[in-house]
Symmetry: C2
Subunit: 415 residues, 2 copies
Amino acid sequence: MQLLLTNIRQLVTVRSSGKPFKAGKAMRDLGVIENASVLVEDGFIRWIGTAGDFSNTLNADADTLDCSTYVALPGFVDSHTHALFAGSRELEFAWRSEGKTYQEIAAQGGGILNSVQATRAATKKELKKLASRRLDSMMMHGTTTVEIKSGYGLSEDAEIKMVEAISELANEHFMTIRSTFLGAHAMPPEFRTQRSEYITLLCERMMPHIAKRKLAQFCDVFCEEGYFTLDESRRILEEARKHGLGLKLHSDEFTSLGGTQLAAELGAISVDHLEHVSDEAIRALAGTKTIAVVLPGVSFFLRNPYAPARKLIDAGIPVSIASDFNPGSCMSSSMPLMMTIACTQMSMTPEEAITASTLNGAAAIGLSDQYGSIEVGKRADIVLFDVPNYRYLLYHFGTNHAAKIIKHGTILEFS
Amino acid sequence: MQLLLTNIRQLVTVRSSGKPFKAGKAMRDLGVIENASVLVEDGFIRWIGTAGDFSNTLNADADTLDCSTYVALPGFVDSHTHALFAGSRELEFAWRSEGKTYQEIAAQGGGILNSVQATRAATKKELKKLASRRLDSMMMHGTTTVEIKSGYGLSEDAEIKMVEAISELANEHFMTIRSTFLGAHAMPPEFRTQRSEYITLLCERMMPHIAKRKLAQFCDVFCEEGYFTLDESRRILEEARKHGLGLKLHSDEFTSLGGTQLAAELGAISVDHLEHVSDEAIRALAGTKTIAVVLPGVSFFLRNPYAPARKLIDAGIPVSIASDFNPGSCMSSSMPLMMTIACTQMSMTPEEAITASTLNGAAAIGLSDQYGSIEVGKRADIVLFDVPNYRYLLYHFGTNHAAKIIKHGTILEFS
């Protein structure tokens, strides 16, 4: 099975020559090839070059797709989402526009616990059906790999239902999916006065079960005032490490509790949010391999400060952009729009935004050996955009420019 | 020719019962009917009610469309765009992300004059072809009426080429189009030291020609430091009034020169931008019939302050939202995204944002007797969105929810 993409107007390879991610100035190097060709074989990239260099001996009878009107990018890797949930929270959106505070919204039944209620009530089948449609839409906008977190269950049954659903979707959907156990997303109401007991349940019952059945690759904690303390976060993540799970952390979203330093110390694969990250935390992060995942859509949606992406990149920290697609704080999964927000509000350059949404996204979920760039030997996840150049994709915002989605070498059709 | 829309999940009529626009608290009244039906005849709305009320005597053999999964809104009226232009300015977008200032970008060949150069060089046919594709895309996102300005010509020939192109598109494209003469968009380089002579050319040659041939319905001026002074703006608008053109003004975008007070004094149909509008100007505007057109996408794109929409509405001023779609300061024409920005960044409620994008948009271009609401006797411009309720349309952002576009009673098909 060969597929030849020819005359690609601009091929944005994001090539890293074997490095797992890009940091600092390297984030601006997209490895762009004008008028390029790519040969795909059995779902992998076999050859890349300029159209003129292509030798017919490489392919006997490949299907050929003329790409002279397209710009090709690696499929986006959205490394932080909560795409599995029931219910929706447009009323909270309206309340916020009227100036209602977080506390007032919570008092009216809003917040994470709203989605917990709906998700607990839904069957696994219903959750999968809802998520599957969302994954279709994400793919249509150019995302080919995604991380999905649990965390709207907050009980043993409901959390396991969620990671089972995510794992089943990973087998059944075209999307490449990584599963993260986020039992520590919020304190369930039943345990409000017995915090330690919930954490024990989480560490001693849920986690061993999930790890044993390989229902998640990562464990994440919402380290934040009103959610989980720094000590509680440490306890959970240290336990997760024993079970062989990769570590992630929601850190510094509203306040700076020291979570970022903890993530650095424990060698977390990523530390996410960082809207209120301190200079001290940035220093702790610099030089580690932990990816800083920034979430432009959340700050936009909640009208909160943006993570200091410029400072992070200038400190040499590899930055990834993710959507944080979720019903409460960012009801969008459009990676191109996240990149536009990053450029207009966070002073990231288009090149940095693209690296952050592809290679560095893959690194944030441990998949950059296979995904996140268009290089020989990697999986053929390529998106063809109907734009004149890669900058235009971020510049002309609010519309979907994705023309063709190639996943593992197959051109997808959406009905 | 009859078309019956039945079982509409939510019909958002934005009914105004004959009033040309809504102001203050009335902007929150969307006239929503659940489980509604609408009968369309010969391009006009003939009957509206709940599905249960519909009597078969009304229609003998109407085509029937089941809308039980749709929310229906009036087609959006985008009352401020510069959708006719050649070239694109993604490089300026990239430069801004790198922190380059407006002055630096202008020195590198950016700014309005960049688009002037490209637009002057293009033929009328080329300009129309480019704009026509953009109009298709706008319609696919739910806009059915649009205003387009000239202003990238800045010479007699090129300005007339632009308004001719806009007028021809108005005849040839499905979109309802209003044309605005904006010869006073910037001082052309040839006249930098002879400002008064350009204004004379504009008033004594271009304007009479354009008015006589009815190539524009409105005249607009960019009243701003470095563009046109308050006195120059007055001279141009007073002349335009003599020619029977409606008056519009770009006012208070970067500085507060008194343009808003001028617009109020001259009875302009709209005053647009208002990012830096003063309290004094708001007082001058209150009680007039001038529509305040705010442009959320510009502030987002340029990372500038937002117009104080909340203050304007609370002062009883009718507010409209427009995209300002243009290659320099807002490369997006998605009205749903503009509404999301208005709700998240400007404290407008979803209801106000919808009124501002429909009825009040129509009022800003003098068309609210025919467009902007779903009421008996008005044109049947109706958009069916695949969402559970109208709030969801603004809440789930960054993707296109428009499922069917009905223009003058016809369901459009896009190839």
